[in-house]
């Protein structure tokens, strides 16, 4: 592969100054182009969204009922997870060529509801429910400390090829090009210390007032530096189902006020398992002679997430559990779900790579 310098990148050095800021934002990434369907549910959905605006939803409703009934593992169901992802995307950057009115169309929400119900049911059955012996922050640190599965980041540090690294970046792109957004849904649902802590974390995720330091924007620079497409959804047809399951998990937790404990726990687990892996990623990228513009994203997260993990576990999750003790259970469920679902995703990548296989559905 060829790694080229990117003359238009905003700032290679973290503190290069405001002059270069905002020369590029994440705005051109959205809305995403519709991907290829992966089965009858996603096909019926895309057919509906691109048809006449008031078209009946009957075909989609039937396909969804049948698709859910036929699914033996909803967490690994390409068709249903892609359909749910696209329904959720209407709440984020939108879908190219799809009218905005679909976002709150009650008929579409009525089709989404049973998918979400089955998805949450599958998660509650699959994910272990942790319980705090003393307090939630201590339990969170113990929970992520127990997380001893095979590490993809260690593989990247020592063994991965440049092509495998590019596959990882592609798999990360669906979430990371809108990094932090699913957790921001929780802001108006929290109060007091928990809200203040979440905003403190998110402000950093969103660059602390500097558009060029938006984490999603730094990641777009990483993609370009690795010779990849930085448009949102550019690899929607490439990524395996586990990418959509991971993204849908966050959207499910984030979009339902009822699940605000779970999205807080998810963020805590995410931040608490990021610093050291990001250090390993950065080392692996340098071993493979990727440029500083590619490593920048991971360098940034070493220090940022060492801060965020403390804020998320103690000031955010700990405060929320004190303010709303009934949410303690879901905080830990959300954290456990993050570890399980993302563990499946990144563990699957490592297994593919160790067998010498690509994890993508089609070549780059």
């Amino acid at each position: 592969m060829t790694i080229t310098a990117q003359p238009h990148r905003a700032a290679a050095a973290p503190m290069a100054g405001d002059q270069a800021a905002a020369s590029r934002s994440d705005a051109p990434m959205r809305p995403m182009a519709l991907p290829e369907p992966r089965g009858p549910v996603s096909a019926a959905l895309m057919n509906l969204l691109t048809g006449p605006e008031r078209a009946p939803v009957g075909d989609l409703a039937v396909a969804t009922t049948e698709g859910l009934a036929a699914s033996d593992d909803l967490l690994a169901d390409d068709d249903v997870q892609l359909a749910l992802f696209l329904m959720y995307e209407l709440h984020y950057g939108g879908l190219d060529g799809v009218p905005d009115s679909w976002e709150w169309d009650p008929r579409l929400l009525a089709v989404r509801r049973p998918i979400e119900r089955e998805f949450e049911g599958a998660l509650r059955r699959t994910v272990r429910q942790p319980l705090a012996a003393r307090d939630v922050p201590e339990a969170l640190f113990a929970l992520v400390g127990d997380d001893d599965g095979p590490s993809l980041s260690a593989f990247v540090e020592r063994d991965a090829t440049a092509e495998q690294v590019r596959e990882i970046l592609v798999c990360r792109s669906i979430y990371t090009l809108k990094e932090a957004d699913p957790h921001s849904w929780a802001i108006p649902r929290l109060h007091g210390h928990a809200k203040s802590a979440l905003v403190e974390i998110q402000a950093d995720e969103y660059g602390g007032g500097r558009a060029d330091r938006l984490h999603a924007t730094i990641f777009a620079q990483t993609l370009r530096g690795a010779g990849l497409d930085d448009r949102y959804g550019a690899y929607a047809d490439h990524v395996p189902v586990e990418v959509y399951t991971s993204m849908n998990l966050m959207s499910l937790f984030g979009l339902h006020r009822r699940l605000r404990g779970a999205i807080v726990g998810h963020l805590a687990a995410y931040e608490m398992t990021s610093s050291l892996p990001c250090r390993a990623y950065a080392a692996g990228l340098r071993r493979l002679d990727f440029g500083e513009d590619v490593a920048d994203y991971f360098d940034e997260h070493v220090e940022a997430d060492a801060v965020h993990e403390q804020l998320a576990a103690r000031d955010l999750a700990g405060s929320l559990a004190e303010e709303e003790p009934d949410l303690a259970r879901d905080i830990l469920f959300g954290a456990s779900a993050c570890l399980t679902v993302d563990g499946r995703l990144w563990g699957s990548l490592r297994e593919h790579f160790e067998r010498g296989e690509s994890v993508l559905r089609k070549p780059l």
Binding site: P14, M15, G17, D18, A21, T126, V127, R128, Q129, P130, L131, A132, A133, R134, E138, A139, F141, A142, L143, G145, D146, D147, D148, G149, P150, S151, L152, S153, E200, A203, D204, G208, G209, R210, T273, S274, S275, L276, P277, R279, V302, E303, A304, D305, A306, V307, E309, Q310, L311, R314, L332, L339, T340, D342, G343, R344, W346, G347, R350
Partner: protein, 96 residues
């Protein structure tokens, strides 16, 4: 702190606070200047930052999470587990 400071609304300085995290770093907030051992200013790059206190960080003076690798503790280890599981059904091994 550099660029972020300029984005802050004008007003009185934020008093500096340092919060010690159990088994972890020192969290620093507020307006202050940080210098290295040669007297050179160090730019934290963010409003709230974490200073290493286990000595194992590769990005000192800042924390990189290494305290977890070296088992750094600021108090005696707990006698009983901090977390239990509702039902120990087999689950996927999680991974970072």
């Amino acid at each position: 702190m550099g660029a972020a400071a300029s984005a802050r609304p004008p007003g009185p300085a934020r008093p500096a606070t340092i919060t010690a995290c159990p088994d972890g770093p020192l969290l620093v907030r507020g307006d202050l200047s940080l210098f290295d051992e040669h007297g050179e200013p160090v730019e934290p790059g963010r409003r709230t930052f974490a200073l290493c206190r286990c000595g194992a960080s590769a990005v000192r003076p800042f924390c990189d999470g290494s305290h977890k690798l070296v088992g750094f503790r600021t108090g005696p280890p707990p006698r009983t587990p901090a977390v239990t599981y509702e039902e120990d059904e087999p689950a996927e091994g999680p991974t970072a």
